[in-house]
Amino acid sequence: MSAFAALGDVLKPKSFAGLFGAAPSIALATLGLTIAANGKMYAAAEARSMIAGALVFFLYAWFCSWLMLRGKLKVMPVTLSALAIWLVCSISIWFFVLR
């Protein structure tokens, strides 16, 4: 996690460094632990849902970018409050599609 974060700090331009803001650091750690505890099929089922979560991450990051580049809102309130959009969209996809 810290390695991906360090890469994001070091690389230029900022748009390229931003790619590392969506690095699969949490997924690698969690899937590794899941495989050890519950096996590969269980982890594959998690990865299928992760596709939906990642697509909602796209909406979240695009919306944050749009607000920060065009609006006058501060960065922390924008990025934290928009997490509610991620939660609502992801849980809706789970409820209506994946469940």
Binding site: M1, S2, A5, G8, V10, L11, K12, K14, S15, F16, A17, G18, L19, F20, G21, A22, A23, P24, S25, I26, A27, L28, A29, T30, G32, L33, T34, N38, K40, A43, A44, E46, A47, R48, S49, M50, I51, A52, G53, A54, L55, V56, F57, F58, Y60, A61, C64, S65, M68, L69, K72, K74, V75, M76, T79, W86, I93, W94, L98, R99
Partner: protein, 142 residues
Amino acid sequence: MKVSADFSALKKTKWYEYAVRFLLGGAVTVVAGLLAKHYGPVFGGLFLAFPAIFPASATLVDKHERQKKQRAGIPQTTRGRQAAGVDAAGAALGSLGLATFAYIIWKLLPLWSAAMVFVVAVCAWLCVSCVLWWLRKKHSPQ
């Protein structure tokens, strides 16, 4: 525009700024595991793509850009917010790479060894993200 690395940026980042992101990522790993345990892997899997570290990273980008401008004698600037906005646009492209990563794990994990699948999936994340970034640069107005 060429991609480059500025290693002096590592000195500007304080140890606790890495620690915060590490702790946030660790917390989400635990939460994702608990949610999967209680509600099953289909629900818990969503949280493998939760943007846990992103708010802290974007706030740091904003802070570092504003500090840079203040050192240059410009106290009031929107540069920090704009840099964070550009960083977020990059994260949006990276998230499509993240979806590719998840798709490869989903399809190949039952067939191949876990280590091999992880290597292929991380390479796919990096390739898709970089190609999308390059295509966006190529087609965006200068």
